[in-house]
Symmetry: C2
């Protein structure tokens, strides 16, 4: 098990209905030392890629993306949920269905901050159905940027997002892929990734 | 001028209606090197305080808080907007009026992640009316935590939040305090802070 799988095993909580709570270290309370390890590991896994920008989505992707950005030496752009009056009209927009919140969010990125020729690494905390990722990919590609890689902290391997995104040809790497969970025993089964 | 005032002068955009756009480096596209400077400066300004947790609010406070947390060696907890089905019922809650979005958000922090005796540093990107800060303070104090300090990137000194929070007795430090702006000339006037 790698450091993130070990942490999930220790501090993750399995709930009924395929819910894995990692809010004590990943997406509500954030363990910055763990984020540093994740940032280093993303840099290792995408060492061969030339990246000039990290793209993520609010809210829980932002912390991981900002720490990871230190290892790539690049800025972070985050897609915002819903229109703000402080955003210029000139935005790339995607509709993202949220599994967690049972609603559709409109997410936007100002056209000023993602450009043709950008080499983008997408970072997010969770991958389940892949809706958020597909939204970020569509925004990057609408801008003429290339998605050089996608780094995810925790992928739910028993939901379809990972397969869909990999089948589309993207270089998707998840630090932990959960293939099964047992809410009675609390057990989490990880996919062997051979690293 | 300090580093943040210089950056605002160079890259901030003044709009009609008291709007200062800093989205090219602070709250949409995020300059992580700048965040590092801000993190170091927060640590300098709160060097005498014993802090064991940073508290912020989604979304644009998260990046600054996570980078600042490296300098304090503490975890970050962020208050979430709106109820998620993934949050346990046991939460501290505050109503926060958003000046930018013209609506009231309910923000929540799980009771698991803020506790009696916690010595909290609150970090946020912007201070205008102080509604978000008052919400975070009320959550910290409902938990029995003490608010040891409040670190803000950009305070709009011509709006009432800063005075209200300082009059309440909190140790509020803003890296840049904007006392006036001119939408015609683009000029930004900063308060002298004697540092």
């Amino acid at each position: 098990m790698n450091f993130l799988e070990e942490r999930i095993t220790r501090d993750g909580v399995v709930k009924e209905g395929g819910v894995l709570k990692v809010d004590s270290f990943l997406n509500h309370c954030m363990d910055i030392d763990l984020f540093e390890e994740m940032g280093r590991e993303f840099k290792n896994r995408f060492a061969d890629k030339e990246i000039n920008k990290i793209l993520t989505i609010e809210a829980s992707g932002i912390g991981i993306a900002c720490i990871a950005a230190r290892y790539f030496g690049v800025p972070v752009v985050f897609a915002k949920k819903s229109q703000s009056i402080n955003i210029d009209g000139d935005v790339y927009l995607a509709e993202v269905e949220s599994f967690t919140h049972k609603r559709t969010n409109r997410v936007i990125v100002s056209k000023k901050f993602i450009n043709e020729g950008d080499k983008v690494l997408i970072i997010d905390d969770f991958l389940a159905n892949g809706c958020a990722l597909k939204g970020l990919i569509s925004i990057a590609e609408a801008a003429g940027a290339s998605v050089e890689g996608i780094g995810i902290a925790v992928e739910k391997g028993f939901q379809p997002g990972g397969k869909i995104i990999r089948d589309m040809g993207y270089d998707l790497k998840s630090l932990a892929i959960v293939d099964g969970m047992n809410a009675d025993t609390g057990e989490v089964i990880f996919r062997e990734q051979g690293e």
